[in-house]
Structures are given as structure tokens and as C-alpha cells.
């Protein structure tokens, strides 16, 4: 007995019922391509999120006002306004004696309001930052200059425009030296940022950067920062710096017990790990749902194979009469089931990969930094899973065929 003969028999039998074979296969094609698409899109979306976090700069620690649970979000995320983080805290953090590894510190105060230049008016997003901002976010001005800390402290009204904000207000005219009004307060444009795209889930090009204290006093009427970011000299010093910052802020805020902390720190690494944990869980959950469709496909195969065994009872009887042993009949029907699932699986891999590529292309076209991830592992996994499904769901019908009594089978009507 040659295994090739069994393949020929199975292949001929499957070709004899082309549309039925295809429809049975469709269950596996859909199942496998869903798994491939979800694994790939999941990895792509994950890369998008991770890239967003990474793009805000490396070696960063964010400080939020208000206490949060170890793994929970900072209170500001919930919309709670906390006024405990002051400009004085930023000055204290710049003290090399207290926090030696900090390279740069900036606060953030965001606001929205109408921005006008002559008769041009846009809804502007302004953000008050410290003079360290370009250092913290690795963003140098394209034209002109950024403001200095002295200017910040003396409440000067200067603005650096994001590339898009500049274009909206001035189109192709020169913006440097022009006076714009933000919430009816006049500012002098001293710089324009280069196009930076979306970083940290925020389109940087719409923003108008102004000195933090100016934003607080003149535009927002507050005396605190809503977020601070510090840059550490080396990733290895992040843990030490976290401790130093905590100690400094506790001293400033006169807190004796860490339980009473009124600030939250998140390092880039923490944020990444947290997001990776969430997105991984989501990815596996979705893949598991897609895998259910494979089980449904497998049940479909079992069903069709049972029909085939019943239809071909006489054929099975004849094969036994001319000398086919039980395990040969079993193998023949298992091969049939595996051919369906294997071809279905390969088609699913091709179809799923094609869709995943299309999704990645569309995402990139829309400007997202989307990685196309179709791992050899997932293809190998999908193919092995399809073979295993064929074996599992083909086994019962094949056993039914193998156990048929040759005489009854020969005379089956």
C-alpha cells in the first residue's frame, strides 16, 4: 500500500464534490484568516501605541499632581483638577544637589482659545511650558528660537507656533516677529516648530507654545502646572531619579509619610509595560474569539465527513472486500479531512495576510506609524492548527468508516 495512492483517492473524492469541499473549507479559511488578521492587526495596533509612547522621548518621567494607585491611572486622567504641583516644585527638581540625574524639567498647562492674526482666526491649542521643553521632548525649533527661562519668569508674551498652526494662521507668509492674539492677549511670534506629527497621542503641529507662567497668569488664571516631565541623563538612573523626585516633592510639600503623597510618577518604562500588558491581554482575547470560529469550522468538517462516509458506504464495503484493512480506510478518510483543513488553512493564511497588509497600508496612508507584523510563527501555528483540526474532527467519521462491516456496507442502499 502506498500513501500516495491514498492521497490520490482522497483528492479524487474531494474533487468529485467541488462545491461541497469548498464550502466546508470556507469555515477553516474564515477561521484561520481571522486568527491571522487579529494577530497581525493586534500587533500593528500595539506597535502604534508603543511608538506613540516612545515618540515622546526616551528616559522620561512624567509627574502628575494627585495620588494614584500603583497600577491605576493618575487622577488627572479622570478629569480631577489637582493644584498641588507648583512652579516652585519644578525649580526644586532642577536642583542638581537634590536630583542629580535630571537633565531638564518642564511643566505643562494646556488651554484652548481663539487665536487671531489680522483677520485670520483659528481655534488654537496653546500649551504653557518651561524653557526646557525642547530638551525634554527632543524638539528643536525650525525657524527662530525658543524662549529662555528668564523670559518665562518675567511673563513675556512670546509664542512658538507648531507647523500646522503657523500654516493655518499665516499660510506661506513669514510669521517671525508678527503679533498674534491668543484669547485676546497679544503675543509676539519668535519661533516655528518643524512638522513633528502625532506624539503621545497628541498632534504636536497644532500646538502653540508659550511660556508656562505667562499661560498660567495671563490666560488661565491659575498658579499650578497640570503635568511635569523630566528628562533623566541615562535610562539606568531612572529608578534612582524616581526616588530623588519623590524625596524632593515630599520635602517641598511637607509630607512625612509616602502614603500621603500628593503626586504620581510614571516612567516611560512603566507606561510601556502597562500598555503592553493591556494590549497583550486584548490581543489574546480577540485571538481566542477568532479561534472559536475554527472550532465551528471543525464541526462543519466532521459533519460533512459523516455525510461522505454514509454516502460512500458501498465504496468502503468494496474497498474492504478487495483487501483494504481498517486502518487504511481510517487513514484515507483522515487524509481527506486534513486535505480540506490544510488547504483551507493555507488559503486562510494567504487571505488573512493579504487583508492584514491592506489594513497596514491604509493605516500608514492615514499617517499612523503602523508596523506590519505577520510572523512566521503565526503562519506556522495557523497551518499546524488546521492540520490538527482536520485530525481531531476527521477522526470520528474516519473511525465510523473503518468500523463498517464489509457485507453490510456492500449491500447498503
Amino acid at each position: 500500500m502506498q500513501i500516495s495512492s491514498l492521497f490520490k483517492i482522497s483528492y479524487t473524492a474531494l474533487l468529485a464534490k467541488k462545491s461541497r469541499t469548498f464550502l466546508t473549507m470556507l469555515g477553516i479559511i474564515i477561521g484561520i484568516s481571522s486568527v491571522i488578521i487579529i494577530m497581525s492587526v493586534g500587533a500593528g495596533a500595539q506597535s502604534l501605541i508603543v511608538n506613540q509612547i516612545k515618540s515622546t522621548g526616551s528616559n522620561l518621567i512624567a509627574i502628575f499632581p494627585g495620588k494614584s494607585e500603583e497600577k491605576g491611572p493618575p487622577p488627572s486622567v479622570m478629569g480631577i483638577v489637582n493644584t498641588k504641583l507648583k512652579n516652585e516644585d519644578l525649580i526644586a527638581l532642577r536642583d542638581k544637589g537634590r536630583v542629580p540625574h535630571i537633565v531638564a524639567v518642564t511643566g505643562y498647562n494646556r488651554g484652548v482659545g481663539s487665536v487671531t492674526w489680522r483677520d485670520q482666526e483659528i481655534d488654537g491649542n496653546f500649551v504653557g511650558v518651561s524653557s526646557d521643553y525642547p530638551l525634554v521632548e527632543d524638539a528643536q525649533v525650525d525657524v527662530g528660537r525658543f524662549f529662555t527661562e528668564e523670559e518665562n519668569n518675567s511673563l513675556v508674551r512670546v509664542a512658538i507656533l507648531g507647523s500646522k498652526a503657523k500654516e493655518d494662521l499665516f499660510s506661506d507668509q513669514d510669521a517671525l516677529g508678527q503679533m498674534i492674539k491668543i484669547k485676546k492677549v497679544a503675543f509676539s511670534v519668535i519661533g516655528v516648530m518643524p512638522a513633528r506629527g502625532t506624539k503621545g497621542f497628541q498632534n504636536q503641529d497644532n500646538l502653540i507654545f508659550i511660556p508656562g507662567k505667562t499661560a498660567q497668569k495671563l490666560l488661565l488664571g491659575i498658579n499650578y502646572v497640570s503635568l511635569a516631565r523630566v528628562k533623566v541623563d541615562d535610562e539606568a538612573n531612572i529608578d534612582q531619579t524616581l526616588e530623588d523626585i519623590a524625596a524632593t516633592l515630599r520635602e517641598e510639600h511637607k509630607i512625612d509619610n509616602p502614603v500621603d503623597d500628593d503626586f504620581t510618577m510614571r516612567s516611560q518604562r512603566d507606561a510601556l509595560n502597562m500598555l503592553l500588558a493591556v494590549t497583550d491581554a486584548l490581543k489574546f482575547f480577540l485571538t481566542a474569539i477568532a479561534a472559536i470560529s475554527l472550532i465551528v469550522g471543525g464541526v462543519g468538517i466532521m459533519n460533512i465527513m459523516l455525510v461522505a462516509v454514509s454516502e460512500r458506504t458501498r465504496e468502503i464495503g468494496l474497498r474492504k472486500a478487495v483487501g483494504a484493512k481498517n486502518d487504511i480506510i481510517l487513514t484515507q478518510f483522515l487524509i481527506e479531512a486534513v486535505i480540506i483543513t490544510l488547504i483551507g488553512g493555507l488559503a486562510g493564511v494567504i487571505f488573512g495576510s493579504g487583508l492584514a497588509i491592506l489594513i497596514a497600508l491604509v493605516a500608514r496612508y492615514l499617517g499612523y506609524s503602523w508596523d506590519l507584523v505577520i510572523s512566521i510563527n503565526s503562519i506556522f501555528l495557523a497551518t499546524s492548527i488546521s492540520v490538527i483540526i482536520g485530525l481531531i474532527f476527521g477522526l470520528y467519521p474516519a473511525q465510523r468508516a473503518a468500523k463498517l462491516n464489509p457485507i453490510e456496507a456492500l449491500h447498503y442502499e
Binding site: 500500500m1 465504496e315 478487495v322 484493512k325
Partner: protein, 241 residues
Amino acid sequence: MEKISLIKLVNISKDYVNEEVTTPVLHDINLEIYQGEFVAIMGPSGSGKSTLMHIMGFLDKLTAGQYFFKGKDISNLNEDQLADIRNTEVGFVFQAFNLLPRTSVYDNVKLPLIYAKKKIDNNQAIKAIKSVGLYHRLNNLSNQLSGGEKQRVAIARALVNEPLIIFADEPTGNLDSKSGKQIMEILQDLNDAGKTIILVTHEQYTAEHAKRIIRIRDGNIVGDHKVEQRLFAKMEEKLTK
């Protein structure tokens, strides 16, 4: 010439057990068939003649008694061992032809070879097809054949392994009389060439083509005699022409 015993049944009985109801089909059968014989097993339906053929053809197991094939007791062989004997020692021709649908004549005839232990020799299939006069139909699909042609393919399939015995279960039952005669002629030719033929039929006329008729009724052998005036399909055909 010394007669070689092929099949020897000693006190064979067969019961069918179905949901705790036991139906005896064959009672205490004793029978011996020698190489080169052409035996017709006759009897009305339900007499047990098919069951007897299935047992002799290694398709069914006996309930009691002993079966000696070529002098060896094969009463206790397992399913796989019986499958091997079916593959090498016997060929079957069924009333309903039992060809593989949408499969060429050649592939149908070759079927037993793919289950053989020895390597497939495709010439054997061609030789068998030629011997039933269907070489011109080699690549036709089974459903493109007439009834008589189908049965000739079935005979070729039974011959392809060069078996000792051919079992024919009502081989003319689904055929018109002309095709039926052709089939009987082929069987008689095969017997002349030395093949042992065991034919199961309920028709007296068909049985008279054999050399020996065994009559079965209610699971017992009720008659076993030589055919005095044997019919020869070849001559009948000439006569009708």
C-alpha cells in the same frame, strides 16, 4: 489427477445476533470445494446461500465449526488477516457491480492492487481488462458503461490479483439475457483456464452453466450434485445468432 482441496468447511454454523435476538442462518454445514471446480450455490432468498458465500469468501466470520483454506485452519483469523487473504486469494463479482463512480475502467480494475503488499504492476490491470475484452474502454468512466460492460469490468477487477477463486454473487441478476450470457461465457472461459469459480444464484438456468450445484434451504445443504447437461454460454450465443 489428484484433486486439491481449496475450501473445506467442517460443521460450520452461523448465527446473526441482533439486539439479543439470535437468528441462526447456517446449520452444521459440511462442504469441500476443489481447485478447478465451477460450483453454483442455489437456493431461494433467505436460504443462507449468500451468508455461505461470505464465509467462504472471508468476508464474514463463522459462529462455530472449522474452515480450512488450502488445508490451513483459518477459522480464527482476525479482520486484517482476512483482508490480506481477500486481497491475494479471491476475487469478487457482485450483482450490483460495485464499481467506483466517476472513475476510469483502468482505475477500477487496479483497485485491489493498491491494497496489495507487493508493488503495483500496472500491466496486470491492462492484462485483466484485455481478458474481458474492454481494452478499448480503458479510460472510459464507469458511469459511461453499459450494465454488461460494468460487470465485465468487475470481473477484470476480480482477476487483477490473479486469485485462486472467483466468487460471483448473482452476477447476471442486473443484466439482460444477452449480457448475462456474455458474463457466463467469461466465467466458463476462466474456469476452463483453471480458475475455481463459486457462483451464487437463485436461477436454475444460470446454475446449469456450472459443473456442480449445491442447493441450500433454511441454512442446510439439501442437495449437492454434478450438472448432467451443462449449458455452454458460447454455444448458446452461436445458436441464438
